[in-house]
Amino acid sequence: MSAAAESALPAAGEDHPRYVLRLADTSLVLGQRLCEWVGHAPALEEDLALGNIALDLIGQARLLLAHAGRIEGRGREEDQLAFLRDAPEFYNVALAEQPNGDFGATIVRQALLDAWQLELYHSLTASADERLAEIAAKALKECRYHWRFSCGWLVRLGDGTAESHARAQEALEALWRFTEELITPDALDVRMASLGIAPPLAVVRARWEARIAAALKEATLRQPSSHHYPWHGKSGVHTEHLGHLLGQMQHLQRTYPGVTW
């Protein structure tokens, strides 16, 4: 972004980089989870598909981390942000960090998040942060394909065999409680929306709900009732799983500080 465009941004202070990190960390953590599948997928073709999605997500994370680092202005680059922050400084939604489980659980997690990212990035293409809008436009194309993939599988599993239906339903029951965080604004979301940097989450909510309801219907899956613990992954309060994920991801950077790889 040009210096002029940068100074034209509404004064958002600490909020702005923190908001961009939410997006970056969600893509990064979800991509890291998909990496665990490489070499172990149910079919060779699915191995390639999951790898492609992981590549897209980590690619998004790199652009967003670089952008967050730039607007933060403390000289932190993508790898410092990815490898040298501890769990409380990660701002991904808690759903992204949930373990892979079986292929059904991975698909349910993916579909819930793909639909959300798709709607969110769609709105972010109109962000007052021009660079963020550019990144969103690129990510949006990727998210469309991710949703095509995960929604297709959700329907196949839901409407496949009795076993696959049961497994998909069970995964949905287990993960549904993390979805409220995606579509419920907190104070930061509201402040960013008021500056035109982020969309009002109510818009994303309506579109996400419609998309998911239609897909679940096609998949013959039942939408779980809404009993939600208020998760705050995007404020850095996570489930136990994130610490382990980061422990593995960050181990080389932590063991050999400051070297070039």
Binding site: P42, L44, G51, V155, R156, L157, S164
Partner: protein
């Protein structure tokens, strides 16, 4: 990525069954001698078909099992750039496995059958993948040495007499051109890094050098199938020729890294214009090939686990397709288009 001359055992090609076959076989050999490609539905001697199925399947299995040792470091890659490169590389190997299984399928065997053979322990794959990846430097060493050895083996296969195999190899070689370079780049970065990084690089080279040389398969004097495979133009160069070529290009690359090769007997032979290594420990090769290497159990175990865990998924997709065969593309198609 990796074929190795594994055909050191298995049935000898049979002699033609009848006079008619002998005539067809003569014409077949003439086609080969004219450098014509053989295509799937063409007549071919049964032994040619079986040799190809075995070699292509071993090659495909090697790609698939080969995803595991490198996949072991994807979640721990030290930078995001290294991570995406490694995912892309391991993913390429999966793709190459697919191309190769497809080529084998044109010979009248299904991928399912070939995978059953692998999981039952009845098929071979390149023994190199039964070695562990213990540090990040192993990812560099594999890219540099293992992919380097594979390229030596694979480039001649682009001219193999069997069309589908040759075409798969052309695609594979094109895609692999970055694999070895990324490996060497990792080694270079480590070799020029801190003391600990250098040590890591040297340790990886020590462990991967000899197994890489073994990738070319047994010495020509021991290799049963070389002569027939060469007549059929499935193979263009002998194991020892390819191995020597690899040694000659790799030794200077190690020197550039300023790392030492774990072979005190290694020397330059001025008269022959070749680097000459000390003797290869073929007993180790045989041990690993027979299933007793450091990771044979883990590798096959991981493949079996993925296959078993994926069965309900494959069944679900097949059941869904059966249910919705009347609707073109299935119901899920409409959702994708509605985006």
């Amino acid at each position: 990525m990796y074929t190795q001359a594994l055909d050191s055992s298995g049935a000898e090609p049979r002699s033609p069954a009848s006079a008619g076959d002998a005539e067809r076989e003569r014409r077949f050999q003439e086609r080969i001698d004219r450098d014509e490609k053989i295509e799937p539905k063409d007549w071919m001697p049964e032994a040619y078909r079986q040799t190809l199925i075995r070699q292509i399947a071993q090659h495909a299995h090697s790609e698939i099992v080969g995803m595991l040792p490198e996949g072991n470091w994807i979640t721990r890659a030290p930078t995001l750039r290294r991570k995406v490169v490694l995912i892309a590389k391991v993913q390429d190997e999966g793709g190459h496995g697919m191309y190769l299984y497809s080529a084998a399928e044109t010979l009248g065997v299904s991928r399912g059958e070939l995978i059953e053979q692998l999981l039952a322990g009845r098929a071979k794959y390149s023994s190199i993948f039964n070695y562990p990846t213990l540090t990040w430097a192993d990812i560099g060493a594999i890219g540099w040495l293992v992919d380097g050895a594979a390229i030596m083996n694979q480039i001649p296969l682009c001219r193999c007499s069997y069309g589908p195999y040759a075409r798969a190899m052309v695609r594979i070689c094109k895609e692999e051109s970055f694999h070895q370079r990324q490996g060497y780049e990792i080694m270079l970065t480590l070799a020029r890094g801190t003391g600990a990084q250098r040590e890591m690089a040297q340790d990886a080279l020590n462990r991967w050098w000899w197994p890489s040389l073994m990738m070319f398969g047994p010495s020509d004097t021991e290799s049963v199938h070389t002569a027939q495979s060469m007549r059929w133009k499935i193979k263009r160069f002998s194991n020892d020729e390819l191995r020597q070529r690899f040694i000659d290009v790799t030794v200077p690359q190690a020197q550039f890294l300023d790392l030492s090769l774990p072979d005190p007997a290694l020397r330059w032979d001025e008269a022959a214009q070749h680097f000459i290594t000390g003797p290869i420990d073929w007993s180790e090769f045989q041990t690993v090939l027979k299933g007793h290497g450091p990771c044979n159990r883990e590798r096959l175990g991981a493949r079996r686990a993925a296959h078993e865990a994926g069965r309900w998924v494959r069944e679900a997709a097949a059941a869904y397709a059966d249910k919705h065969r009347d609707r073109a593309g299935g119901g899920a198609e409409r959702y994708a288009q509605a985006i």
